[in-house]
């Protein structure tokens, strides 16, 4: 019975994680610029690789039994897959935009390129009023 449960869990997590990698590879063709490609890559590292890690952990739990060191490695790997790959995607997308890569022209809320209102342009609320009064500032 435990064998059947372990095989089903390994198959479920492993095939789902591998399918997420394939789907994000297909999505590389369907997206229009580099920022969108970095965006559609995040399910692969945020969900696909942790699912493969869970499959591997279930497999070692089934074959070798419970071990504190293996649990530690699985937990640290899980957290670092989620956190580190998110930071890496952020760094890469920022540097791609700074390097002047073309952005798809119908990217609708492009907060990086253009300021939507005065607050995004760096102006405070007081400066947009236009009339500074010395006695008002104290």
């Amino acid at each position: 019975m435990a064998d059947i449960i372990a095989i089903v869990l390994v198959a479920l997590f492993g095939i789902t994680g591998s399918l997420l990698m394939v789907l994000s590879a297909i999505a590389m063709f369907r997206s229009n610029d580099a920022l969108s490609r970095i965006n559609v890559f995040s399910p692969a590292t945020g969900l696909g690789m942790p699912l493969i890690l869970v499959a591997a952990y279930v497999y070692t739990l089934w074959q070798d039994g419970f071990g504190l060191m293996r649990l530690f490695m699985a937990l640290v790997g899980f957290l670092s897959l989620i956190i580190v790959s998110s930071v890496a995607s952020n760094v890469l997308s920022r540097s791609v935009f700074v390097a002047g890569a073309p952005v798809w022209r119908r990217t609708s809320p492009n907060r990086l390129a253009e300021a939507r209102d005065d607050e995004d342009a760096g102006l405070t609320e007081r400066e947009t009023w236009g009339d500074f009064d010395i006695t008002d500032l104290d």
Binding site: M21, V22, T45, R70, L81, S85, V96, A99
Partner: protein
């Protein structure tokens, strides 16, 4: 359940089939990614597809370690997930020619 000595020794056949399916899917992901690198025009797309190929290769290595019953199943994915950021950050620095 006794640990196997070879490729399929001491284990039911369905585990081998499942792991082979996973390896095949990840290999398909790598092939699609390499086709995308071939048709890409800017460097950012190539960098992120390189990241996809890296993680798919780590997954393949994990499934091969499960298939031939090595004891490094978790070590592979542990080290690769912590050090995988270095390639991405290096490619990001190449994009901006060294500026942060």
């Amino acid at each position: 359940m006794a640990r196997g000595t070879g490729f399929t020794g001491g284990r039911s056949c369905i585990v081998t089939i499942v792991l082979s399916i996973c390896i095949g899917l990840l290999a398909v992901a790598i092939l699609i990614g390499l086709l995308r690198v071939l048709t890409a025009k800017d460097m950012g797309s190539r960098a992120i597809v390189g990241d996809l190929v890296y993680f798919s290769a780590v997954g393949i290595l994990t499934f091969i370690a499960m298939l031939v019953d090595l004891s490094i199943v978790l070590d592979v994915i542990f080290l690769a997930s912590m050090l995988g950021v270095l390639a991405t950050v290096a490619l990001a620095r190449i994009q901006t020619r060294g500026h942060r």
